[in-house]
Amino acid sequence: MTTLTEFLGMGGYGAFIWPSYGISAVVLILLVAFSLRRLHRIEADLIPLEQNRKTRRQNKSTKEGAAS
């Protein structure tokens, strides 16, 4: 128990060291999370459009196939 408190106390500098590590962790985790969320949103928005294009192409080719 004493070792843990000693460790957390960091020789009296815990109040500066732990916030440094904490804010670094928070900022970097948020950065990763927001980046991933943005990517997933865009990917989700793309899916219907891609399918739309595919079906139109197929329609086009079947039409052309029928015409020839």
């Binding site: 960091m10 020789g11 009296g12 500098y13 500066f16 060291i17 916030p19 440094s20 590590y21 804010i23 670094s24 900022v27 970097l28 950065l31 990763v32 980046s35 991933l36 943005r38 990517l39 865009i42 990917e43 928005d45 793309l46 459009l49 891609e50 739309n52 294009r53």
Partner: protein, 243 residues
């Protein structure tokens, strides 16, 4: 249409290559962060002068390194984008900016948390700290430009001009501690006569530095992919409008 093909050709290759790198970069980041933090918090000794506060260095210095490297990378990308009109160059500068801004913010905050117990103040207006703050504002301005233009190709050019103008700040940050009498101490690692840090402290620092670097690569890949897909999304919506 030939123009469209040109716009997609390179990004497609970029996406293929990064898809291979991504899992390795992500795994490396986690591994290095794990080892680095273990060394930083448990193995590394106290400094003879600064005691335990030297541990702040392991999150402060890598962030500061990255803030400047990311900006330099953006400046190079911006120049490439302006001169050769390479489509991925503009997007990669745009994708890197928020990451660089985060690193700069962290360097400033952890630096002031280190400064208070050691120097006796959270902040001083010396050359190193001030130029670092300017760097942070430059990142913010860069991102604001991207937000302010409706036309992405215009935004890319305007943002590139700003990055290149601000690039003059990077050598100022780097050499500020040598050019002026600052409160901030001179460079410890990249010096002419080798590192001035004992290996037991230098090792965790370098591990953390590499971890931050690979974290940057990981997030950068995610963000560039998002930008490329976003551009494709925009194009497809326009095509839909035309029909």
């Amino acid at each position: 249409m030939a123009i469209d093909l040109h716009k997609f050709a390179n990004p497609a290759r970029f996406l293929r290559i990064t898809a291979v790198i991504f899992p390795w970069a992500a795994a490396l980041t986690l591994l290095l962060l794990g080892i680095g933090l273990y060394f930083a918090l448990f193995v590394s000794p106290e400094d003879y002068q600064q005691g335990n506060t030297v541990r702040i260095m392991f999150v402060h210095v890598p962030a500061a390194w990255m803030s400047m490297s990311v900006y330099s990378m953006m400046a190079i990308s911006a120049a490439v984008g302006l001169i050769w009109k390479h489509p991925v160059a503009d997007l990669s500068a745009k994708a890197a900016a928020p990451i660089g801004a985060c690193f700069t913010f962290l360097a400033l905050v952890t630096g002031s948390l280190w400064g208070q117990p050691m120097w006796g103040t959270f902040w001083v207006w010396d050359a190193r700290l001030t130029s670092m703050l300017i760097l942070f504002f430059l990142y913010l301005g860069y991102m604001a430009i991207w937000e302010s233009y409706d036309d992405p190709s215009k935004a890319a050019k305007a943002a590139a001009i700003l990055v290149l103008v601000g690039a003059i700040n990077v050598p100022v940050i780097k050499f500020s501690v040598d050019w002026w009498n600052t409160l901030h101490q001179p460079a410890s690692v990249a010096t002419m006569d080798g590192p001035k840090i004992h290996s037991s402290i230098l090792t965790p620092l370098l591990i953390m530095g590499t971890a931050y670097m690979s974290l940057f690569v990981t997030v950068f890949i995610i963000r560039v992919k998002a930008e490329i897909l976003n551009r494709r999304l925009r194009m497809m919506r326009l095509v839909q409008l035309e029909d």
